[in-house]
Amino acid sequence: MDHHTQPAHVLHELQFKTPLQEYSPEVRQLVFDYTLQLADTSLILSHRLAEWCGHGPILEQDMAMTNISLDLLGEARNLYQYAAELEGKGHTEDDLAYLRDAVAYKNPLLVEQPNGNFGDTVLRQFIFDTFHYFFLKELQNSTDHRLAAIAEKSLKEASYHIKWSSEWVIRLGDGTEESKKRMEAAIDELWTYSGELFEATPTEKALQELDIIPDYTSIKAEWDKHVAQVLQEATLALPQDQWMQSGGKYGRHSEHLGYILSDLQYLQRTYPGQKW
């Protein structure tokens, strides 16, 4: 390639030269769908956290939330880039993130829930980070080399995230009467979205059977253990088993996602062809 003749934006694109793995068209489609689901999940939560920018309760926590947002955005980009390569239709990460409608998004409902107050955001993050941390630990052993590499990279960052949200659950739960009340309300509101993280869709089941992604049983056990330990230290009651919301992984979303996408995709849809 002669770089002198390339348009300027190409200079900013990071190139991955690892060849794609040999997959049959069916398996390739499964890996593509699943990679998109992971990318959507990181992107939507990243966007929610970014909404705190300039609104955090104190400067340090404003920075913490936007830093975590940035890590998740980086993870989402790595995943969208991989998805675009798997798809092989000439789409870019930007097309996949900015030009798909809400029904095409496959993130679990948890990550699109509104920020609420700081306690709500902390609890949403705690539920997700605990899943994310133990999930990435397993995914880094995936037989899919690219997913494994992305997981290995993100795991190091996720270990800071889980520490942050766990410490805040403890601080707020075992804090003042008011902060405890708010954490209890956050648990009442958000617990019902935790089950979907461990619910395997037909795509996930097929990939688990092919040993490309981890089974969720052991991850759920680790999640239960960590969550119980942190809630106990936070003097918060562990919720009873209850009915769980789901649908996001199938594209059935709460109304919140549409509002997120209208904000997130505004620029790309108004001025098409912009590059990240």
Binding site: M1, H3, L11, F16, T18, A149, E152, K153, Y160, K163
Partner: protein
């Protein structure tokens, strides 16, 4: 141009700096993982420090511009995620430059790095060298830094996080 070797390219890259920590070259930072030279073509493999590090795009562009300016006709930059970057790859010279610049370099944790609630490390104040410092926030001005404050001279300072 003179016949280029990989060593020559590594040397040239010593002059390409991290846009956010301008005392560190991309070599000091440990993001350059490999250099392959073939005639006037060069391929540089880089790895991001953090997944979302916005400096990577700029670093990639600056490496390219530097090598084009030095006469390479074809510069290819590959990104590699695995093995994932660790602060162990920061050069000794880089650590020293960081401290002189006012950023505390990464400190080796003593306990198990994988435990969730590890004891915080002792970070030395880059200004007065006191070890009586406190963590203000695990997240700082960039992905790779945490915020500390010195209890003796009261200086607030950045700490380049240890990432394993």
């Amino acid at each position: 141009m003179q016949a280029a070797t990989a060593e020559k390219v590594w040397q040239l890259l010593e002059d390409v700096y991290d846009p956010e920590i301008p005392v560190l070259s991309v070599v000091d930072l440990g993001v350059v993982r490999d250099v392959q030279v073939q005639g006037e073509e060069v391929c540089v493999t880089i790895t991001p420090t953090y997944s979302g590090c916005p400096a990577m795009g700029v670093i990639s562009t600056e490496i390219r511009l530097k090598l084009l300016a030095e006469g390479f006709a074809n510069v290819e930059i590959d990104t590699q995620l695995r093995p994932a970057w660790t602060s162990d790859w920061l050069s000794e010279a880089g650590k020293q430059k960081l401290e002189e610049y006012g950023i505390a370099p990464p400190v080796e944790p003593t306990g198990n790095v994988n435990q969730l609630f590890g004891k915080d490390v002792t970070v030395r104040c880059p200004r007065c060298k006191s070890e009586n410092t406190k963590l203000v926030s695990q997240f700082g001005s960039t992905s790779c830094k945490a915020l500390y404050q010195c209890n003796d001279c009261l200086e607030p300072f950045d700490y380049f996080k240890c990432l394993k």
